[in-house]
């Protein structure tokens, strides 16, 4: 089948490290942590009391209060990132624009409107069904971020949602690129949003023993690949890429950040939350992405790791990189985990980490893994410890692995 090339022409993001892309990126390159004590919810009885919480977000700066109250926080983040990305790409459609029929959305989220779900279950149990919000269901369902984007930004083409937990928005970007490559759309809004700093989600992940309890040192708690890592730190936010068919982007003189070169997927087929020991599943997703890109392991200049800071992920991912890249290349390729700074954005992680790969390519600089102090014998690769590294980046891979054993790898490349 004749595949069309797909490039990235717009970026948007909302994170604890800034409410726009350039603020985020300068903080990431400076090695700043977005983690702090949780303020939004009561965590007095929850073991994990820290997160990369967005403290200064006011949705009413972007839309009316009336519109805002119909959206869960996760969709609000996605909406703002989408607006930024479309503006960055200099793309807008009115209702009658025929091009709008060729523009779509692929949004990813791990647990969608969990904040609204908790709130409404609380109302149901304490006040009864007739006091529940009529917007409750619409706010909770995971596809609403993409649905509302299509309504508000007039995107009438393919529209779907991926819900593969922490791999969700990596799947969204890969799937969106495939939609364009096969000719079903020319422009896709692709990314994800997540807002899971809620009592249910924090307590639930804590009970799964997935979260760091290093509450005394919030900024040092997310320490991927460090021997003393003790779990992931919850993050939140959204990131969106504008994907566009290459010839169209060139014809309209768009700024092209990078090309989507490869998309690989695999399933661990092993355990509901734990990675398969040895990382065989993760290795196959990286290999599939490189095969799709037509690149040898030695041609990958940077890996943005899943790197959650859980004991199991980081050693398994290290083993997987050795399997996928071969021992020789594995020890030379720079690897970093930006989750050391952003926390874990769950379903939005793949999108913000794709964005980081794309900016690494643009600027020729690799973001660091902060809080890397004590080497772990089982994590012995080059994790770009603590300080950014200026080096040309022509290709970058990002990994995203989700509960359920979903493994996704994406490869981006420079366009000359």
């Amino acid at each position: 089948m004749n595949q069309r090339r797909v490039v990235v022409t717009g970026l948007g993001s909302v994170t604890s490290l800034g409410l726009d892309v350039e603020t985020y990126w300068s903080n990431i390159l400076a090695g700043k942590s977005g983690v702090s004590d949780i303020e939004r919810i009561d965590v007095s009885d929850i073991t994990a009391k820290i997160a990369a919480e967005i403290k200064d977000f006011d949705i009413e700066q972007y839309m009316s209060r009336r519109d805002a109250r119909r959206l869960d926080r996760s969709s609000q983040y996605f909406w703002v990132a989408t607006k930024q990305a479309l503006e960055d790409a200099d793309i807008s459609y009115d209702e009658e624009d025929p091009d709008a029929l060729r523009a779509g959305v692929l949004a990813g989220t791990g647990i969608g409107g969990v904040e609204t779900l908790e709130e409404q279950v609380g109302v149901l149990n304490s006040q009864g069904p007739r006091r529940m919000s009529p917007f409750g269901i619409a706010k909770i369902i995971s596809n609403m971020a993409g649905g509302v984007a299509s309504i508000d930004f007039h995107l009438y083409g393919p529209n779907s949602t991926t819900v593969t937990a922490c791999a969700a928005s990596a799947n969204a970007i890969g799937d969106a690129a495939a939609v364009i490559a096969r000719g079903a759309a020319d422009v896709m809004v692709a990314g994800g949003g997540e807002a899971a700093i809620t009592r249910f989600a924090m307590a639930g992940f804590a009970q799964a023993r997935a979260l760091s309890t290093n509450n005394d040192d919030p900024q040092g708690a997310s320490r991927p690949f460090d021997l003393n890592r003790d779990g992931f730190v919850m993050g939140e936010g959204a990131a969106v890429l504008i994907l566009e068919e290459h010839e169209r982007a060139v014809a309209r003189g768009a700024r092209i950040y990078a090309e989507v070169l490869g998309y690989g997927m695999s399933a661990d087929g092993y355990h509901i939350t734990l990675p398969r020991p040895g990382g065989g599943g993760a290795a196959r997703s990286m290999q599939a992405a490189m095969l799709d890109a037509g690149l040898e392991p030695s041609a990958i200049d940077y890996i943005n790791a899943h790197g959650t800071s859980t004991p199991a992920n980081d050693k398994t991912e290290t083993a997987a990189i050795k399997t996928a890249f071969g021992e020789e290349v594995a020890y030379t390729v720079p690897i970093s985990s930006t989750k050391s700074m952003t926390g874990h954005l769950l379903g939005a992680a793949g999108a913000i980490e794709s964005l980081s790969c794309i900016l690494a390519i643009r600027d020729g600089v690799i973001p660091p893994t902060i809080n890397y102090e004590t080497p772990d014998p089982e994590c012995d690769l080059d994790y770009v410890p603590n300080v950014k590294r200026e080096v040309p980046v022509r290709t970058a891979m990002t990994n995203s692995f989700g509960f359920g054993g979903h493994n996704v790898s994406l490869v981006f490349g420079k366009v000359d």
Binding site: S64, R66, R69, R131, P134
Partner: protein
């Protein structure tokens, strides 16, 4: 409760709880056509009326509400019999 008081409280809840534009609200304003209150918004309106005025409005009676003034009528009738 005096009608004027009901009207003023009505305006307040339409702005505060339904997020409507204060300038667009008049007693003649139609919820659906003028204020763009959709079927979900109507449910929210009923909840707000029940909460703010301490009345019960069954769905059948809600169908009589077309304008802001008619909502005031219904509340007034409920409150004052």
């Amino acid at each position: 409760m005096e009608r004027a008081e009901i009207e003023s409280k009505m305006r307040e809840l339409l702005v505060e709880e339904l997020g409507l534009d204060a300038d667009a609200i008049s007693m003649e304003a139609r919820f659906e056509e003028d204020l763009e209150v959709d079927s979900l918004g109507v449910v929210e309106l009923l909840m707000a009326l029940e909460d703010n005025f301490g009345v019960q409005i069954p769905d059948e009676e809600a169908e009589s509400i077309g304008t802001v003034g008619q909502a005031v009528d219904l509340v007034e009738q409920k409150l004052n019999g």
